[in-house]
Symmetry: C2
Subunit: 325 residues, 2 copies
Amino acid sequence: MQQEIKSRVVGVDISIKRTTYAIVDVRGNIHASDHFPTTDYTTANDFITALSEKIITMTEANGGYEQIRSIGVSSPSANFLTGCIENAANLPWKGIIPLGAMLRDRMGIAVAVGNDAHVSALGEYSYGCAHGMNNFIIVSLGHGIGSCIFSNGKVHFGADGFAGEIGHACVEHNGRECGCGRYGCLEAYCAEKGIIKTAQEMLEQSDEPSLMRSLDRISPKGIAECCEQGDKMAIEVYRKTGEILGLAVANYASILDPEAVIFTGGISNAGKWLFDPAYESFEAHVFHNIRGNVKFLRSTISDRERDVLGASALAWGIKEYSLFK
Amino acid sequence: MQQEIKSRVVGVDISIKRTTYAIVDVRGNIHASDHFPTTDYTTANDFITALSEKIITMTEANGGYEQIRSIGVSSPSANFLTGCIENAANLPWKGIIPLGAMLRDRMGIAVAVGNDAHVSALGEYSYGCAHGMNNFIIVSLGHGIGSCIFSNGKVHFGADGFAGEIGHACVEHNGRECGCGRYGCLEAYCAEKGIIKTAQEMLEQSDEPSLMRSLDRISPKGIAECCEQGDKMAIEVYRKTGEILGLAVANYASILDPEAVIFTGGISNAGKWLFDPAYESFEAHVFHNIRGNVKFLRSTISDRERDVLGASALAWGIKEYSLFK
């Protein structure tokens, strides 16, 4: 006779604008999913009360709450070691929020909390193109540049949970000023604002015609569309961006010897315009022993699904991934 | 009644010039130790036959071979995953040498084989100043620059066993030519030849008096001795070297968030002349969230002991550290 088992978990992705929550089974099938604006709640307490009620409602309508084994939560500025959101720059709640403990107390089951960059890698490892890879790097290209290292089949958190800060690696001695106050950081060239700045500089420094001149607002997406139409200057913007990205990732990979570098985030939609020059620069700069051995991949899961799936993987591995319980 | 246990291991350190072997207990006490020239044996087979006999003789004279639980071996170009020495540039034996299997077959006990840089970190973790640290970096400064990453309490090997190649991180776009054929590598500035080159360049480009001009042969040790006597130009050689080292290690640490960076190798004997400017440059360049949190340490074990102790730690952790058996 087969006894009842708890066969599902809840994955929660808190992001700046919206919070997504979903019921997920161990194979990564999403059985139900919904979302609400994160900014609707001015206190963490109200947010957690609302989230708890929404989870109960959804699970009761989809097989029952008793099927849920545990909950995994992805959030910016989350510290996996403490289960807290710590001084999040872009969330409405300030200071140290003991999110994991608060949610666990309300829900009565185990809760694991992870940093969005780390959870993202866990999602790719569990259900995406990093499956079976014990050593890889994930690099997310968007407003900022985040990354996460997988070492020996586990997230490398570092001593304080800050590992993976490729965005502020110095790629140009005394180069462009970065939002962090230093000069020459990767983000200042290859994140959203950096790419826009490169385009603006090129447009200012030349009289050549370019489709970019007729864009209402210069954006990485708009520049990529100009590339598709054969615009030389737009292609050069991504070539330059790719060259710098490739150099930084080569230094990163020379140290870590990953099986693959997996790119996610909006900027990666530029596709070949970015990644062809990036890979060429990567191969030129990477340590010769690993040249030709490191795969450049684009994520096979959508940005939105990845974090919910990663949070569910966190929930499945609760013994391993939650120390604060 | 207490039954007999195997209470000791043998640690073997194969280095370019000499091979050291020692009987070590679990607390890192060395009960006997000896060495012989590695280059005495032109074939790997002869080398392993001699090594086996020497180990038997030493153990029989020191408590008996039956007390030995296992053997750990440190070697350049060793691949921990296969137990082989693979295409060692600086050892007399070419090609792929299945050292672990050969030694195991002769000795009748388990053998683990590790790469010298990784074993070195394991020695520091088991018996040196990295004890209790789950995340740290070890950087060895000598003829070349090697390094090893500890992640979550284990060596980070990378996908192919090449992780830790900080020596060939690019620190100066289109800078000095490196022995590896590329330009601007850290090794070209901060390893032995690089430091000598910096000194020579400074001596050529200026007429200022310097004690370095009266050295028979310019060496990192000689330059450090000039520093001790207050020689301005010698101090400037190490200041410049430290500045570059600090920048490279800052990029390394920003990615990995280690608890400490531990320096080993002959060049680190330059002490404050190198590490004061290196730490200053490190703090200026490291990601702000970890600034002030990363310790700069010099190894507390002698270079010679570290590898034998690391090899013995490999032997103690044989289940974990030997996959090829």
